[in-house]
Amino acid sequence: MELTVGANQFFWKPEQWAAFYGDLCTAPVDRVVLGELVCSKRLPFYQDQLPTAIERLMQAGKKVTLTSLALVTLKRERKMTSELAAMNIEVEVNDLTALAVLPKDVPFSVGPLVNVYNETTLAWLAGRGATRVCLPPELPLASVAVLTRAANDLGLEIEVWGHGRLPLAISGRCYHARLHGRTKDNCQFACEDDADGLAVETLDNQPFLAINGVQTLSASHASTAYQIEALQDAGVSALRLSPQSTGFVALCDLYRNRIMGKTDATELVAGIVAQNPDCQLSDGFLTGSRGSDWSGSSG
């Protein structure tokens, strides 16, 4: 089983962005997806650093993929999506708009924000040139198993959301801007103050969600700590770890040790909690009665 680093969902300062991808060169991961997933207004701030980051990651032996934007509405965003091909790097499609504008007959991968719920969708994507698919985090283990079997017959690799705040929704409205009494067009980049999203709590002060510009995430960090064996048995090729602003390389180490069989679920969870004591965990989409459920007792 391999480890993929998913596209960064947050808006970081350019120096933090560059340092993050610099550090990944020596992290025990196989594949890195980078580029802008959430908001087209963010890209200009780090766009000129992309070529260097890509080159360094490739030199370090990582497979590199560029993400497409999750929700494409504006002309500028359509252009940005069609320009992805010019980078000559494999594209991860996170909105079917990318399929519409990228050259045909070029292999691509499919990200977690495309609705791949069944075998026919998987087969259709394979027919269009998909080589790997990261399944939507909402899917239960039973669906993952069925889809992984189907993918084997189609020659596709299947990836599953392994760790990180869950991308639960995307909107035309920017919630960071709204919270600051601004509109999206005049957001003044309110999201840059929250490197891992801004906590949204219930009226009983229970952690529940996190806002990240136009995106809504879970408050909990999803973790596959307890499902590694089931996912390996199902034939899942890779786990996706979603970037966070602190301790990410250490997190990659923890998951690498777990998939190599050097540690068990309890040890992995202990490692995660030691690093981030306030971290709430979940794995309910895979095995629980709802997404926020957690198999473990702590976290």
């Binding site: 909402e138 669906s143 989409f285």
Partner: protein, 327 residues
């Protein structure tokens, strides 16, 4: 051409009421998980669908069948049967969201007209044209994230007909791309055809307050005696930063009646009313009003103002993303 009024029907009685009230078109679904309003006591059996379509056709109205959830892995035949049965019942079109189901329908039911559901969240002309080319989609229901200007821009770049929501419940998130409900309750629009389901709602009296919870998460608290809003997740009240309030959206519903001239000028083909869970009298009243409005518009008369305000949820309404400042 007069803009087409596309009206919801959760029951055969609502379908007949909508047709009699002047709906050009009615949309409905089968009583199972294949459609996005899979609520108890709602929707159509196979026999009811056949009868409903015959009734509508005899009055000159069309019927669209929504099969717009995402088929479950290992159980796709349930969704395939729904498409076949809609075809056999004489549906004028099916409304689909899933790529695999679109591929199936295009292949096995090529002469059945296909509309792209709002659940596909196709938000620009490139992707809409792509669905047309790949699956022969003739109409797209646009996601509720677009301004009127953006809708006009889409229509300038596509031959696919566009249908837009004008009245009723308002999704704040891009439809089909939201799993807030399954995160809190295990049931989602995409997989189960429900959002913030009533089975997971709990109201509790707490020291003079009434708390409303969904899946155990407290998202409304009102003083005793005040009306307690239904705890729909994206309309809930939360703490964020140093503020407490409706982080995502207020308890409002969509009412774009005053934007009908702009929507017509933007090239919109059809106006969609949300609410398959609504009563037939509600449906009837909304249809009559919208039919009168589009007929007035076509005849060059001015639109009556505020005709639907009292039907809006919680007495508050919004024009949503149609005005850019909403974002």
């Amino acid at each position: 051409m007069v803009m087409e009024i596309v009206c919801p029907a959760g029951t055969p009685a609502a379908l007949r009421a909508a047709v009699k009230a002047g709906a050009h078109t009615v949309y409905c679904g089968f009583a199972d998980e294949t459609n996005a309003r899979n609520f108890p006591g709602l929707n159509f059996s196979r026999a009811e669908m056949t009868e409903g379509i015959a009734f509508a056709h005899s009055h000159g109205s069309k019927v669209l069948v929504a099969i717009n959830t995402f088929p479950r892995a290992g159980a796709e035949t349930i969704w395939h049967s729904a498409v076949s049965d809609a075809h056999a019942a004489g549906a004028d079109a099916v409304i689909l969201a899933d790529v695999g189901l679109l591929a199936y329908a295009a292949e096995d039911h090529s002469d059945l007209r296909r509309h792209l559901s709002v659940q596909a969240a196709a938000a620009n002309a490139d992707v809409i044209n792509f669905y047309a080319e790949a699956f022969g989609v003739k109409r797209v229901v646009l996601p509720r994230v677009l301004s009127v200007q953006e809708i006009a821009a889409i229509n300038a770049d596509t031959d696919v007909e566009t249908e837009v929501f004008v009245f009723g419940g308002l999704c704040v998130m891009a439809e089909g791309r939201c799993s807030l409900s399954s995160y809190a309750t295990g049931l989602s629009p995409n997989m189960n055809g429900v959002c913030s389901p009533a089975t997971h709602v709990e109201y509790t009296q707490e020291g003079g307050d009434l708390a409303a919870r969904l899946g155990g998460y407290t998202i409304h608290r009102v003083a005793d005696g005040e009306p307690a809003p239904y705890p729909t997740l994206c309309k809930g009240c939360f703490h964020a930063g140093k503020k407490t309030g409706h982080v995502f959206e207020d308890a409002v519903s969509l009412n774009a009646e005053q934007l009908l001239p702009q929507l017509r000028d933007a090239g919109v083909t059809a106006l969609k009313i949300e609410g398959r869970q609504r009563s037939r009298s509600y449906v009837s009243q909304v249809v009559k009003n919208f039919r009168a409005a589009v007929d007035a518009l076509e005849a060059g008369r001015t639109l009556p103002e505020g005709m639907l305000a009292r039907l809006a949820e919680g007495q508050a309404s919004t024009t949503g993303a149609y005005r850019k400042t909403w974002r």
